[in-house]
Symmetry: C2
Subunit: 467 residues, 2 copies
């Protein structure tokens, strides 16, 4: 099996070869999750001097990655595998399964910057990945490992973005995939993709935790590769947006990255990416990473503000379904990222999320609700004096607006937020909602009526006169 | 106004400066549509010798475009504006409005190739554009022109992909946008994006033609820029996938391009792109372009098979909503493409579309139903002896699967196709439907039940054993 890396338990620090890890990706001693470590990883216990050929040369890497952008090979056109020097997890690159993930845009957000109170704000839109979410960057890496190890079946428990990504990459690789979902909690729209890509979907008469328990049993008994986020190879792909952001900024490290917090694998992965680049000398410092959760699904926020720093699972409830997670698997990894890199944990209300989503939309950038917690959280971090006006901030948008059209429709028709939720809004927030809500207007097909109505609308909006 | 190009009526050949064109983009003499012509365009009436500095040097272009791939400038990261040498429609590049459209993947489709009966099949997935459809490539070009000309308002009549793209690019540019839709024909999912990006949506109590009539009146009276596909600048952006395909194939021209046929601007634009590249010497020959329509919305197919070559509008009905167009605005342009470049017009049934969509999905590639007519049509073209086994074929997929999740759900639950539609299927097609349909199965959360059921499923699918 692979000699390029080992797996290290983040709980007890035990290290083992990839071939020796249990099928449920849990440490048999302490139950902790694993992370992938290379000879050149921070804290790998191998000095650079001892393995000179394995430590990537940073200057060589920058120009190599730039050069690969002009290649027409699928593996080079992938925004994950272009950075394969820093994720040598497959031995034979023929095993790589790619849908040309990554290469996502880094958008300037001038109006959102003003609203948040910072001079300089960018959004890295991971929802522009092939299946519409950031999960693709982690699926290309983990499915490639599954192929190299000879698996024919893969599985995950999920009702949303993970299952869509898994089903697509599995189909691409010619593997069979199984999705476990809790019955009754089905969101058909979110499952349409898994069906489209040919996954076998199993509705179980239990809750999400029950699904995970049965899935764990399944992968113990059968040769099925587990693709929930406990799989450490998913994080290897998910760390590559860190490289892309720096490349897009010509290696000027921003001060702050803001990430939505759900199961917390994403923030963990980005942190790993930045830390590794610093360790090998590609960058001289790392950005702070702040994590924003919905008020109704805020276990990390509670941990962060708990004097004893205890993690207590919560019963999760938020319309931002992609982060409706009460017992996040990767919380220890994320906690370490905040502690080591600096940054904060913030929480935002349903009303704040809905407003931020509409504000991002008004910049011409569509995202799913979970992504909008970043802008909502940034506003609070600035108000609280934790992010300074001059700091350069990058928001990570995790999903495409098409992932949850119903939320958008309900919002604009005024059917999303309850009176109580709106009541908690400030007068300024209420005015912004009024301005941004765009429910359709219905008119008779009469020329005079249409022209008169639109003339009034245009006057309200103060149009300029064309040159 | 711009001296880089003129507009030429495709009906009577009249040419005029861009500033002189009417706001409805119709020739006042013959009612024809315009196309953008440059001094170096095919049939521009200007010899290459007369304007040596204006004729791009093909070898220089190829290396220049490749080099721009490594740039971090937004305009260079756009898969449309990277090719700006061939679409000099804005004078000041600061006016360009980009969401980093284009740069879409060209996927190998080995299983679909086998099903269609060709050795070599690729799919260019234009649904991977920022708003999820090929319309983005045309909106970036037309909205940039709107900005350069000082417009503050833009408008279109549409219920789908066009309005989503227009709303996004308008928001990005800080322009206001108006969408006209026929009341009662509203598809909320398709409109969610327009609302998200802040468009003013007007439901009119009339049909689609009625919407277009009122829109025409609106742009005559007010300084509003018309963005329906009659706007010739949209086609300038939409021609750039032709350049991208050739670049991705290292300038080996494929034999055949297959495009869905709706309003027919897309096939027209691709044809223009290939013809221009041949004219300036970038390529030595052009591919054939074949256009596939749904049986229920087949005006071009009827024109093609009519002995008098007359275009008669039809009442359009198909579940592939993006091509549910009975009176296509750009039919003359598309007809010219077929005549000049070769290729055929084909039609496919609802059952054939549904099957092809599931087959594309089974390759891990999600697309909206209208995109799937390409594979369905290719099968027929091969069976009819019009495409040979050895021809290299590229399918143009126009929209993302997330654009129409309901179609996917209905298909897999067996609620999409009628008995009559299924009855018309061949036994082989029926067997393929059976194999591809993946409705969820419901199970008790009992370990023994789950393991037994999945073991049976895995045996059916003949899984291999991992190494």
């Amino acid at each position: 099996m692979s000699s390029t890396h080992q797996l290290r338990c983040i709980g007890c620090g035990a290290r083992l070869d990839a071939a020796a890890v249990a099928s449920d990706f849990r440490c048999p001693d302490c139950g902790g999750l694993y992370e992938v470590v290379y000879p050149w990883s921070p804290g790998a216990g191998v000095s650079a001097a001892a393995t000179p050929v394995r430590l990537p040369n940073p200057m060589g890497l920058r120009s190599r990655w730039q050069e690969l952008r002009t290649s027409t090979l699928p593996i080079d056109q992938s925004g994950v595998w272009r950075f394969r020097d820093l994720l040598p997890i497959v031995e034979n690159l023929d095993h790589v399964v790619t849908l040309r993930e990554g290469n996502t845009p880094l958008y300037e957000m001038p109006r959102a910057a003003e609203l948040a109170g910072v001079d300089w704000l960018l959004a890295k839109h991971q929802g522009m990945n092939p299946t519409g979410s950031f999960k693709d960057t982690g699926m290309t890496s983990a499915i490639s490992v599954a192929v190299e190890r000879g698996f024919q079946w893969v599985a995950c428990a999920s009702t949303g973005n993970t299952s869509a990504a898994m089903a697509a990459y599995a189909a691409r690789a010619g593997l069979k995939s199984i999705v476990f979902i809790p019955e009754g909690k089905i969101a058909w729209g979110k499952l349409a993709q898994s069906m489209d890509y040919g996954a076998l979907t199993v509705q179980l008469k239990t809750d999400f935790d029950g699904c995970v328990r049965l899935l764990t049993e399944l992968v113990r008994r059968f040769p099925i590769y587990l693709l929930n986020s406990v799989n450490p190879y998913r994080l290897e792909g998910q760390k590559t947006p860190a490289m892309e952001i720096l490349e897009q900024l010509e290696w000027q490290v921003p001060e702050h990255i803001v990430v939505p917090g759900g199961n917390l694998a994403n923030s963990s992965a980005l942190g790993k990416g930045f830390e590794e680049m610093k360790h090998i000398g590609l960058i001289a410092r790392v950005p702070k990473i702040s994590i924003v959760q919905a008020e109704g699904a805020n276990p990390l926020y509670r941990w962060y503000n708990d004097t004893n720093h205890e993690m207590k699972p919560v019963t999760a409830e938020t319309r931002a379904t992609a982060i409706r997670i009460g017992n996040p698997a990767s919380w220890r990894k994320a906690a370490r990222v905040i502690e080591e890199m600096g940054g904060w944990c913030e929480q935002v209300s349903e009303q704040e999320i809905a407003l931020a989503k509409a504000e991002i939309g008004a910049e011409g950038i569509g995202c799913e609700p979970a992504s909008a917690v970043t802008l909502a959280g940034l506003k609070k971090l600035v108000r609280g004096g934790r992010v300074a006006k001059g700091e350069r901030v990058v928001l990570i948008l995790t999903g495409h607006t098409l992932k949850d059209s119903q939320y958008t429709i309900d919002y604009h028709r005024g059917e999303l937020l309850t009176d109580a939720e709106m009541h908690a809004a400030t007068p300024a927030e209420r005015a912004r909602h009024e301005e941004l809500r765009k429910a359709p207007i219905v008119l008779e097909a009469d020329e005079a009526v249409v022209l008169r109505t639109l003339e009034a609308q245009m006057a309200v909006s103060e149009p300029g006169v064309p040159a």
